[in-house]
């Protein structure tokens, strides 16, 4: 059996020049998992 989650979340906003462009998005969705990883109920998949 399989569970698929599809959800909307903020991408985040790009940091300003002073904070360093190219260092990624800030305040958006971030994954905490890897492909093939074994997980348990309640473990964080990611967070905003």
């Amino acid at each position: 059996s399989t569970i698929v989650l599809v959800f909307e979340a903020p991408m985040g906003v790009r940091k300003s020049f002073d904070e360093g462009w190219g260092s990624g998005l800030e305040g958006g969705w971030k994954w905490n998992i890897e492909n093939g990883q074994t997980i348990r109920v309640g473990q964080a998949l990611g967070q905003v």
Binding site: S1, I3, F7, M11, N32, I33, G36, I39, A44, L45
Partner: protein, 414 residues
């Protein structure tokens, strides 16, 4: 031949158990197929409705062979077989053997006495000890809804979800298109997600049910029974519990930076997906990954291919072919959907808050066949799903509220 018949010594030996089980299985399959045909005849007054056009999947020979098998009938047979009670002395060694083969952890079961599980179906749907699965405390996190393995995850681009190893399918095929009911709501200026819930009225509920031919509302959903008024005490307790849940969900949704839970979508938002595979030895109940409100569910009565990682790599669009329950709703950041996908061995998806849902059911298949035939008569495409709404579950939230970590249901054998 006569001499051989007279002189040959006849020696009787028992049939091997495996062969016996296969033979009994084939007999049972034949009987279930015959009953299914009779049931269809009765439903249609002697006229057999044409079955839904089955989509023949492309793929290697293993997939082609699998597509010829009556997978749903096999799944139902498997379910019935596993509901047979095991003799007491066989339970402990039998379940220990199963746990050893599939890596199930017997230490964390709520009921550790293996003799109390009458059959494999009840063992498979076992509960865990309280506290065995601590829920992550970060209020901004989405937590895993089940035990299992992460097969793929990422951002949805161009409306396509990646299966595994580059196979993709469209989000619309997975979730279904916009239903007449949703269009009807939106034509009245009411958005289906991310909108202010309190603006919707009871009258709109009735209209919702009338406009959509295949949708229906579930008036006594929370009590799990149509005769809710007869059970006043249970109703009062349920209502009180429901109010507490609503308050908690509202509090959770309002946490953080002050954005209301119905914050409108912005261009800074994106759609993400995650696929989790549950192996046969895993705990098979699933939980809510966040605090959210389920607005509706769509039941796609498809096929029941295996969803093992091998087949997910091999069979393109597997999730679009398989029977699945799509729960649609909203959370703090907008749209949220939760899709349990059935498989050959676990064809039954159960939702604790939806007593009406019947998956891997002969009746459902027959109804889907009839709906497909009626749609064909009208010259319309068959949407492929039956939809139910939960708007009456909570008038304030316009849906069924779920808390993070709350048990939602599970997968059952067959």
């Amino acid at each position: 031949a006569a001499k051989a018949w007279r002189d040959t010594k006849i020696e009787w030996r028992p049939i091997p158990i495996g062969l016996g089980i296969v033979f009994l299985g084939l007999v049972q399959l034949y009987r279930s197929q015959r009953d299914a045909e009779r049931h269809r005849m009765e439903e249609s007054d002697g006229e057999i409705p044409p079955p839904r056009q089955r989509i023949r999947p492309s793929g290697p020979w293993q997939v082609q062979v699998m597509s010829t098998l009556p997978l749903k009938a096999l799944s139902r047979l498997w379910g019935r077989f596993n509901e047979l009670d095991l003799p007491g002395p066989l339970r402990i060694p039998g379940f220990k053997l199963y746990a050893w083969i599939f890596g199930a952890n017997l230490e964390e079961m709520a009921e550790p006495d293996l003799r109390t599980y009458p059959n494999l179906a009840s063992f498979f749907y076992r509960e865990l000890k309280p506290g065995a699965r601590p829920i992550d405390q970060d209020p901004n996190a989405i937590v895993s809804p089940s035990d299992g393995k992460v097969l793929s995850f990422g951002m949805i681009e161009r409306g396509e979800v990646e299966q595994v190893k580059g196979m993709t399918y469209s989000l619309e095929a997975l979730l279904g298109g916009a239903s007449p009911s949703r269009e009807a709501l939106e034509s009245h200026g009411i958005e289906s997600a991310g909108s202010e819930a309190n603006g919707r009225s009871m009258a709109m509920d009735e209209e919702f049910a009338r406009v959509n031919g295949i949708s229906y509302t579930l008036p006594h959903l929370l009590s799990g029974s149509r005769d809710r008024p007869k059970k006043k005490a249970a109703m009062d307790a349920s209502t009180s519990s429901q109010e507490t849940t609503e308050a908690k969900v509202k509090a959770d949704l309002a946490l953080g930076d002050g954005h209301p839970w119905y914050a409108p979508k912005t261009s800074h938002n994106a759609l993400y997906y995650c696929v989790i595979y549950l192996a046969p030895g895993d705990y098979h109940r699933f939980h809510s990954p966040i605090s959210w409100v389920v607005e509706s569910r769509r039941h796609f009565a498809g096929e029941l291919y295996s969803v093992s990682p091998y087949l997910q790599r091999t069979l393109p669009g597997l999730f679009v072919l398989n029977e699945r329950v799509v729960l649609l709703g909203r959370w703090r950041w907008g749209f949220f959907s939760y899709i349990p996908v059935g498989a050959t061995n676990v064809g039954s998806v159960k939702l604790n808050f939806d007593a009406e849902l019947r998956t891997n059911s002969l009746t459902t298949d027959t109804e889907a066949d009839k709906a497909a035939a009626e749609a064909a008569k009208r010259g319309e495409p068959y949407t492929g799903f039956a939809e139910a709404t939960y708007y009456k579950a909570s008038h304030a939230l316009r849906g069924h509220p779920l808390q993070r970590g709350e048990e939602m249901g599970g997968f059952q054998l067959g």
